[in-house]
């Protein structure tokens, strides 16, 4: 199942992710403490979830005391992309990799860790994944801790600007692909437009932010899937194999 060498290689690959996570989770920690979470609760959430979009979006629901069902549905839709990533990752693992290791790797399926794992040359060894996950997640936890602990003593002007970190990260994920593929560009624009309408239009604006994201995602992604279905080729999996 890989070796110390694989673990170290994974850990090295995790350093840039760790740094990126540090900045974003610092912003998350601050927002979590503003939402009323204790330092312990914020770090616990980061440890148990490791999902930027899911965690940021959850704060609004916690503040408004939404139902557990709404929270579950929001997390499902916001994190549904991990479903696809896990489907792709499972193709990278050898058939001999046992369920126990698969459950371990599943813990660290995030946009960035998935990106590094899937681009990694050759077969994916669990040890590589563990190195990658340990280093990346430690940045996520440390940032959350610092943000939640320091949030109260930092000047408001600085905190205000850190609110942009998460959106900067989201844009860094979606814009390069939107630039390369027209159908992704239209998906992004349609989602932003629809989200803006749901935020400002009368009546529609009464819908909570959680459901707004769910409705926009399902509607836009389904429309895009009908209008511009992805190619039937399996080049991704086969190139890597």
């Amino acid at each position: 199942m890989g070796s110390i060498k694989d673990f170290k290689s994974g850990a090295e690959n995790g350093i840039p992710i760790c740094l990126g996570y540090l900045a974003v989770s610092f912003a998350f920690g601050i927002q979590a403490s503003e939402a009323g979470l204790s330092v312990f609760q914020a770090v616990m959430m980061s440890l148990m979830n490791v999902t930027s979009a899911g965690q940021f979006s959850s704060l609004d629901l916690i503040v408004h005391q939404a139902s557990f069902a709404e929270m579950a549905l929001l997390q499902f839709v916001v994190n549904m992309r991990y479903l696809l990533m896990s489907c792709a990752l499972t193709q990278k693992l050898g058939p001999s990799v046992p369920t126990g290791h698969r459950l371990g790797i599943a813990y660290g399926v995030t946009d960035e860790i998935f990106g590094v794992s899937v681009l990694h040359k050759g077969e994916l060894h669990p040890a590589f994944s563990y190195g990658l996950i340990v280093v990346s997640v430690s940045g996520w936890l440390l940032g959350t801790f610092l943000g939640a602990a320091a949030g109260q003593i930092m000047p408001q002007r600085l905190i205000s600007c850190l609110g942009l970190a998460i959106y900067g990260m989201f844009l860094a994920i979606i814009i390069p692909e939107a630039r390369a593929k027209r159908q992704v560009l239209f998906t992004v624009l349609a989602a932003m437009l629809m989200s803006a309408v749901f935020t400002w239009a009368p009546v529609l604006k009464m819908i909570s932010s959680g459901f707004r994201i769910i409705i926009v995602t399902v509607a836009v992604a389904a429309a895009a899937a009908v209008l511009a279905p992805v190619e039937e080729t399996r080049q991704e999996v086969q190139e890597d194999a």
Partner: protein, 100 residues
């Protein structure tokens, strides 16, 4: 705020199941072209919907938020790394706020 732990557990359970089920159960490729296409577009639709228009009120001042938004758009267009885009967006907003 009595049930914050409840929320955290619900979130963790849903998120982990999403990650773990395909890795453990599906060892073949998904056949449905619609589902594969739908899943392909989901991240872009979700992240776009979460970003806009929320980014316009990310900082305390609207002008600072817009400055950060434009900075992030330009840098991500030129494929700068996650860390660079996030840090520069914050810095742009901070600089603008200094003049407000």
């Amino acid at each position: 705020m009595h049930n914050v732990y409840g929320y955290i557990l619900v979130m963790a359970l849903v998120t982990y199941l999403i990650r773990a089920l395909p890795l453990t159960l599906i060892r073949k490729e998904i056949r449905s072209r619609f589902i594969r296409s739908f899943l392909y577009y989901v991240p872009y639709a979700t992240l776009a919907a979460m970003t806009f228009p929320a980014i316009l009120s990310a900082a305390d001042h609207r002008v600072a938020s817009i400055a950060g938004f434009i900075t992030a758009l330009i840098l991500s267009f030129y494929r700068k790394s996650l860390l660079v885009v996030a840090a520069c967006a914050c810095a742009a907003a901070f600089i603008v706020e200094l003049f407000l």
